[in-house]
């Protein structure tokens, strides 16, 4: 049994959830058709009228939206209500093309923060907790989302924002933080730094961490849980749909419950756009059922995952999504072989290395090269070059076994790989620069 932030809706029967979704989709499509000329054109081109959408099952008639549409419609083209009703924007870092700018009414902010509150309560949070939020604040959704959720739960909120690790640790220790919210790579970095400073995992008061905004593996989860002495919960979301809290993990840690009363999820074949049957692996597509400011319908996330309706021991009835298994667009094809960065990370963690690495793909004389730079930790350092080279050789063997192609491994000193304290730059594909 679990605690819930909104028990009635989080444990509602399947029939009840469908009833809510039916009601909301009809209203939402009507609103979007009336207020968003960009989407109205897409519907008209497909020959779909708002009257055709009578229940959630009819959603498959609607056109998709993709990142390209967001670019075309930038900045106001997908606004769902009069700008006077909006109270805030959030934005992505804009690494692929122009940045995404999303609009929020107060209603949108409230529902988003409620979703984050559900996640915090699912991780064991109550008004007795001290919740340290070291996601970036500002345009990035991570800080504001978890900050709002933490307020709703009634935790004492430490609005740290990202960076300044020494200060993070000082506040964590002095104020006895019990819940940590940040990216998994930053959680791992805090763990490393605590160890360097001579702290044991039991020296902090943390009990749970809510980590998201970048992909991470089960191995990384284990390593963070160990180094911080906590239970690590995944949280999912994207600026396009609101931010973190679209889906969150419960104590089972076997997938993230999607807040289905607000966000409708589909899995499609990324090539054909066809909706796949339950349990299939494919691209995740989201529809916001009741957002007003930025009401995206059938937005293609590019995240590849699986949905499951298996009964969950936590008592929540909302569908669960697996951790994204990669993206339909970040998969690397190297010498004709599909390579996911998560596979490389899995090998590194299995071989006892810290998850501080960078993958560099390039092309030399028409041949793809794959180089992986990994930071050695002090326990692994040897005064003899041959020892380090043997380590590299042994890693190369393990990589070949996992990937099916060779990778050149480079062990480098700690902290020599550039990392922003938010997202680590995991992959540099130089081939794109040449083409």
């Amino acid at each position: 049994m679990s605690n819930y932030y909104q028990k009635e809706i989080e444990t509602a029967s399947r029939d009840e959830i469908i009833r809510i979704q039916n009601e909301k989709i009809v209203r939402q499509v009507k609103r979007v058709y009336e207020n968003v000329p960009y989407y109205r054109d897409l519907m008209d081109k497909k020959g779909v009228k708002p009257e055709d959408i009578r229940s959630i099952d009819d959603i498959k008639l609607l056109p998709f939206l993709s990142k390209a549409d967001l670019r075309d419609a930038y900045p106001y083209g997908l606004l769902g209500t009069d700008i006077r009703n909006c109270v805030r924007i959030q934005s992505t870092s804009g690494t692929t093309g122009r940045r995404v700018v999303a609009f929020y009414t107060q209603h949108d902010i409230d529902l988003w923060e409620e979703c984050c509150a559900r996640a915090i309560v699912a991780a064991g949070g109550t008004n007795e907790d001290v919740c340290q939020v070291c996601y970036g604040y500002g345009l990035f959704t991570g800080g504001p989302g978890l900050n709002g959720g933490s307020h709703k739960v009634g935790c004492l909120t430490l609005p740290m924002s990202s960076g300044n690790t020494d200060r993070q640790i000082q506040f964590m220790m002095d104020l006895g933080a019990t819940i940590l919210c940040c990216t998994p790579s930053y959680a791992a970095y805090i763990g490393e730094t605590l160890k360097e400073k001579g702290y044991k995992p039991t020296d902090n008061k943390l009990k749970a961490g809510i980590f998201g905004a970048e992909p991470w593996t089960e191995e990384m989860r284990r390593s963070i849980q160990e180094s911080l002495g906590i239970k690590a919960y995944d949280i999912y979301g994207l600026t396009e749909t609101s931010g973190p809290g679209v889906a969150f993990e419960c104590e089972e840690q076997t997938g993230m419950h999607i807040n289905e009363d607000h966000f409708y999820a589909e899995i499609i074949d990324p090539d054909t756009g066809e909706v796949l049957p339950e349990g299939s692996k494919g691209e995740l597509v989201f529809t916001s059922l009741d957002k007003e400011g930025f009401p995206l319908l059938r937005y293609r996330t590019r995240d590849i995952c699986v949905l499951s309706r298996e009964k969950c021991s936590c008592g929540r009835t909302h569908v669960k999504m697996s951790k994204p298994m990669g993206r339909s667009d970040d998969m690397m094809i190297i010498r004709g072989v599909n390579v996911f960065p998560s596979q490389i990370e899995t090998v590194l963690l299995k071989e006892g290395y810290d998850p501080n690495y960078q993958i560099v793909v390039d092309r030399e004389r028409n041949n793809d090269t794959l180089d992986v730079y990994v930071e050695l930790n002090p326990d692994q350092f040897s005064d003899k070059i041959a020892d380090i080279q043997n380590r590299e050789k042994s890693l190369e063997g393990a990589m070949r076994a996992m990937l099916g192609i060779g990778a050149k491994m480079h062990l480098v000193p700690p902290k020599s790989i550039a990392r922003s304290e938010g997202k680590a730059v995991r992959v540099i594909d130089k081939r794109k620069l040449h083409d």
Binding site: F381, D383, I385, H410, V412, P413
Partner: protein
């Protein structure tokens, strides 16, 4: 007698070596001897200094550094001294991992620093063969 050598793991990038050396010198520590082994990606800087503990503290703020026991054998200023040492070690099946040399403060003295796979056995053997090696105290006194 073995002496303490510090080994520092450095990125093979311009400025990394000078940064380390500058920090040590700024603390008023003398670098008695130094050698670098490197590959394309990294370098291992080996140092013999007047104050190993303090150097370790300073360098570990920005790099991995470990202490290694090495033997500094005094070479007579005549041909064949080094091969005498190496022959003795080889006969006793003691492997030399690496070596490098430095000169003492007196013009006629030179030392060869040896990292071997069995320091205790090498010390005993070289002592018996009449080769003098430096102790940490003698090293300090040289400066």
């Amino acid at each position: 007698m073995a002496i303490t050598q510090l080994s520092v793991f450095l990125e093979n990038k311009p400025g990394k070596l000078s940064e380390t050396v500058r920090k040590i010198s700024a603390a008023g520590i003398n670098i008695r001897a130094m050698s670098i082994a490197d590959t394309k990606d990294f370098g291992i800087l080996r140092l013999i200094v007047s104050d190993a503990a303090e150097t370790k503290r300073i360098v570990s703020e920005h790099a991995i550094v470990t202490e290694t026991e090495v033997i500094a054998v005094r070479m007579d200023d005549q041909a064949g001294a080094l091969s005498g040492v190496l022959d003795a070690l080889e006969t006793a099946q003691i492997n030399v991992e690496y070596l490098y040399a430095f000169t003492g403060t007196k013009s006629d003295s030179a030392y060869v620093v040896l990292r071997v796979d069995n320091t205790a056995a090498a010390e005993e053997l070289l002592g018996k063969r009449g080769f003098a090696s430096l102790s940490d105290a003698e090293l300090k006194a040289m400066l």
